[in-house]
Subunit: 331 residues, 2 copies
Amino acid sequence: MNPVIAIHGGAGTITRKSLDAEQERAYRAALDHALRGGQRILEQGGGALDAVTEAVFRLEECPLFNAGKGAVFTHAGTHELDAAIMDGRTLAAGAVACVKSLRNPILAARRVMEDGRHVLLAGEGAEAFARDAGLETVPPDYFFTEARHAQWRRALAEGRSDLLDHDAQALAAQMETSAETSIGGSTGMGKVGTVGAVALDARGDLAAATSTGGVTDKRAGRVGDSPLIGAGCYANNRTVAVSCTGTGEHFIRLLAAYDVSALMEYRGLPLAEACAAVVLRKLPAIGGLGGLIAVDSQGEVCLPFNSEGMYRGEARAGGARSTAIYRDDHD
Amino acid sequence: MNPVIAIHGGAGTITRKSLDAEQERAYRAALDHALRGGQRILEQGGGALDAVTEAVFRLEECPLFNAGKGAVFTHAGTHELDAAIMDGRTLAAGAVACVKSLRNPILAARRVMEDGRHVLLAGEGAEAFARDAGLETVPPDYFFTEARHAQWRRALAEGRSDLLDHDAQALAAQMETSAETSIGGSTGMGKVGTVGAVALDARGDLAAATSTGGVTDKRAGRVGDSPLIGAGCYANNRTVAVSCTGTGEHFIRLLAAYDVSALMEYRGLPLAEACAAVVLRKLPAIGGLGGLIAVDSQGEVCLPFNSEGMYRGEARAGGARSTAIYRDDHD
């Protein structure tokens, strides 16, 4: 197997108009840095699980993306983070939801998986578990960034609170708002956004990881697709590893990540056709916007989205790293 | 369409030895009462969603089952309830997780679905949403039952806290403990248990609903399969409505409820074969114990389980209601 990793940093209304040259460079550099972390692990013979953990950890540490440090504000002015990870070899999985004090939710998800007793821990119970495991906690102001704060205040002022619904028109408006709120060089993509990584290692093992701050101005307690196995994150050595980003509720209702796997395993579709069925047909049919990244058991990569853009990248062991943002961006 | 409803009240090591005649009568009467509620709605031309809501509501109100009133204790001595509901016509879904103060979590899940902005709300955010929607809240002692309390104290004393894992041996021991703790006529099935309903109405619409108190002595914040769409609850008019019960983590990792649907839609399996693949092959392969109830778009019913028993029942509009508990129980 030739190891490969792919990552995303969120999908949405990301147009060339919405990012200036400096912003674009910053995003590409951050994507490259995350890719490099995972790629190096794969080049050194490391496992897919470690590669996706490292890549998502780096994206969580970067304030540009809506996960970890750059998490958006809830309606209550707090931050609630979600993450999930899955091991395609064993179908072991771990996830945390609605955590407020953990610097790196993806590391907590990994510990939940390794512990093995549970798959999903939420809220204070998840935080207590992570603290017991020795993971780093941070005070609430760790997640304060000027750009996210301005985004939140704007959402509040517009009375667009709690905005994530099944109505295509509202979603379109929401996506527009996201594009408009390119403040301080750190948004360009606002209300929907998530980070994720998928990888295949030299042993043929697949893994997937996803992490998010959710949607700006969300109701406290709202859980999107990111920490839900089969919705925003899935890996199975027989088929594919998938990480999703977009209007989470639609991904939940379709089991978007697992559906790619099921279409491959049960209907025999090749990766690209399975991804197209989910992202370009089934999601739009119920008003869902966003995309996903996928790498299959043969090392094929597919990065489809139905939105204007998706922060994304891919790299093979020993190969060049490529990053892309816009729809017509084939770098 | 000839409307039909099926229900479950949990699966586990339920043997004839574990229930005396009086206990068995009490369980059968409670199952019949829940079935009757759903059946009457279907007979009056009501929808599948209303039928499954009513049946699960009745099971939540009954102290015999691990949901609502009869919810088990967490390790912390509290109660955390989960529920989900899905509309097969629209793929709309709603769920709540880790709620402590809501008398009927299934009604909260229904409101989340009808509200449409979210699919899953957890913890205090879910409770605030339900309170705003006018749903009934109860003090913590509402959920106190002697039998569940004794079960919890026994789990604590045995140091078997937080017991739900991927290890078959531990699971077997856990199931045994469940069978042993038939205290006060209100267990007979202990650490794993959940209630659910699936229905097909006269218009051909399918719906599924699931509600649980989780596992006895669980870690606070643990979320099982019940409130997770595609894991413990799924409905799709093209295929099937499914509600699961068992060792939740295994159902999450397999997307058990959605997998039945995917095997039917993508591989063309009939209902019984799809159910057998998931419950009798895929779940045991990863150490999963439990069962599910399913009704497909043609009104076929399947109630498979790989444990010793499952509290279950089914009824067609205008037909007799049948309930069953044990493996060799064909009533």
